[in-house]
């Protein structure tokens, strides 16, 4: 897979390296600025935001205070529960739906569901937010529950995920394999979970990465569903924190870093898989 293109002379290669380094520095600059300022007092940040160490020295107190004011562990827990449950649910319901859609494409219900899913991908969230709040808030009164958000997250991502599983089952799973299982006495349900599902692992990984990142970072839908402070996810808590403490810039820096840290740490370990998953997801979608 590793490509080696012969790109001109050593000079153009050196030039390329310089341009890449400049771009790289520009890409990480905002993060670096947050990191150097998180260890300064409010006064030091205001007087010299670019200095590596403030005149009051290297301080750590911004972290515990921001953690307490943001209720970080609770918020982090909320985000984790919601992201994990939504991702797993999305994968389970979408791969099952994709299976019946691919294998029984002559059935009207399958064709109708699949076309509706494809067509729905152009609907922007803004069109659905008022009716969602009206139905689930006004009519059923089920806002402010984590489960509501999990089900809504799943409902929104199910069409894209089904589309991706559809492609995978259609091209990668030979029908003969399933037929052999039927002959051996498997029911359809068993065949799917014992034969087909294990072969879908690469697509499961792709869908998991794309959806988990989307759920983790989503702001608008969670902010409409979860309005109680104890249910906040990381993006909502960051927004609320900024609204309350925007003048206390040292705390803001700590809160922003805390908001970014979990996913950055994860990226450190899963970088290869994340890049691969995002690429294959984007190219197929």
């Amino acid at each position: 897979m590793e490509e080696k293109r012969t790109a001109g002379s050593g000079l153009s290669r050196a030039l390329m390296m310089i341009v890449l380094i400049i771009f790289f520095l520009a890409f990480v600059l905002p993060f670096v600025l947050v990191i150097i300022n998180v260890f300064k007092t409010k006064g030091d940040i205001n007087s010299a935001p670019l200095a590596l160490i403030g005149s009051h020295g290297f301080i750590l107190s911004n972290f515990p205070e921001a953690m307490k004011k943001m209720d970080f562990w609770r918020v982090f827990g909320n985000s984790t529960i919601i992201t994990t449950c939504s991702t797993i649910l999305t994968i389970l319901v979408s791969c099952m739906a994709a299976f019946v859609i691919v294998r029984n494409n002559k059935w009207k219900a399958c064709a109708l569901l699949f076309s509706a899913m494809i067509a729905s991908m152009v609907i922007p969230f803004q069109v659905l937010m008022v009716p969602l709040v009206s139905v689930y808030g006004g009519l059923f009164g089920v806002l402010n529950h984590r489960l509501t958000l999990i089900l809504l997250h799943t409902g929104f991502s199910v069409s894209m995920a089904t589309f991706m599983f559809h492609g995978a089952i259609h091209t990668n799973i030979p029908l003969e394999l399933e037929e052999a299982a039927y002959i051996d006495g498997c029911t359809r349900w068993q065949t799917f979970w014992k034969i087909v599902f294990p072969l879908l692992k690469p697509t499961v990984a792709t869908v998991a990465i794309i959806d988990a990142m989307a759920f983790w970072n989503d702001y608008l839908l969670p902010s409409l569903v979860l309005q109680k402070k104890e249910l906040y996810t990381i993006p909502i808590a960051t927004q609320a924190f900024y609204g309350t403490y925007s003048t206390d810039i040292g705390l803001v820096m700590a809160a922003l870093l805390l908001a970014m840290l979990p996913i950055l740490i994860l990226y450190l370990f899963l970088q290869k898989y994340i890049v691969k998953g995002v690429t294959s997801g984007a190219v197929k979608g």
Binding site: L20, V122, Q126, V130, L132, L220, V275
Partner: protein, 292 residues
């Protein structure tokens, strides 16, 4: 025999596609249809009564000058962002597939902004623009310098800059996949026939990467056109509502000013724009398949 019975079909469909169908209907299809209905009412968001008002909401939407200004602003913002996102992404992809040292490191690095949501990124950049850049400007000029975010054009510039920064790494990955899908032998053949590297890239590689271009351009169009999170955290529509994008206007119309009907009608106009963009993408994509 048994497999052609209606009851078999229904039970199989419900068993496998039932949960997905219910969730999909409940979150997308029913709200969409219900939203259509809401545009013909003057619902206030609280009461049970939803008086039927005909086309009043659409009239209000068409007469809502700030909405059309926001839409125009979104178009301008999207054009510049899409253009620069794709130029930067393509150049980065070209450089990180050229065999320079550490190209995997660079790829991973350029992707980092995509890991973090628009809300957090917006606040990070707000700090950079309001404090760091101001400090640099002040040390150069010696006096006080205003933040870029405090002027109308400056705020627009900031939004475009951050969007390019945010999405270039993602689009780069798609272009990288495009570069890698072009067989090296084709380019070598062109070089043997007398092309230099630049000509071979322009005339062989780029035409074969058509699918990547269509993908990246339309992906960035939809992302930019529906921008909300970044808009909210970076500028909040300020100064003087001069950086309110279409999605934010719709949100404010519905949830801040409680004009749910009008807001929903304006959202539907956005949907029509998105649908046109989507259909165009499918059309252009299909056309390319035939030609290739």
């Amino acid at each position: 025999m048994e497999r052609n019975k209606m009851s078999y079909k229904v039970s199989q469909f419900l068993m496998f596609a039932g949960p997905a169908s219910i969730l999909f209907l409940g979150t997308v299809i029913i709200p969409f249809i219900y939203g259509l209905y809401l545009t013909f009412t003057s619902w206030d968001g609280v009461s049970k009564a939803k008086p039927f008002v005909g086309l009043t909401n659409y009239m209000a939407a068409f007469a809502d000058a700030p909405y059309w200004q926001a839409l125009g602003r979104t178009v301008v913002y999207s054009i510049f962002s899409v253009l620069f996102i794709n130029i930067v992404a393509f150049l980065l992809a070209y450089m990180v597939t050229s065999g320079v040292k550490g190209q995997n490191f660079f790829r991973a690095g350029f992707f980092i902004p995509n890991l973090i949501g628009g809300i957090v990124l917006g606040y990070v950049w707000k700090f950079v623009f309001n404090r760091a850049f101001v400090a640099i400007a002040e040390s150069i000029s010696g006096g006080t310098a205003p933040s870029l975010l405090s002027t109308t054009n400056g705020a627009m510039f900031c939004l475009i800059l951050v969007s390019v920064w945010q999405y270039a790494g993602y689009m780069m990955l798609i272009y990288v996949a495009g570069f890698m899908s072009v067989p090296e032998s084709l380019k070598e053949a062109a070089m043997i026939d007398g092309c230099n590297t630049f000509q071979a890239t322009m005339n062989v590689t780029i035409p074969l990467m058509r699918a990547s271009f269509v993908q990246c351009i339309f992906l960035s169009i939809t992302r930019c056109f529906m921008v909300y999170d970044l808009n909210l955290s970076l500028t909040k529509g300020e100064p003087f509502n001069s950086s309110v994008m279409a999605a934010m206007h719709v949100y404010n119309q519905a949830f801040t000013y409680k004009n749910y009907g009008t807001g929903q009608a304006e959202a539907l106009i956005l949907f029509v724009v998105c649908a046109i963009i989507g259909v165009t993408q499918v059309y252009i994509g299909k056309k390319g398949e035939v030609a290739a």
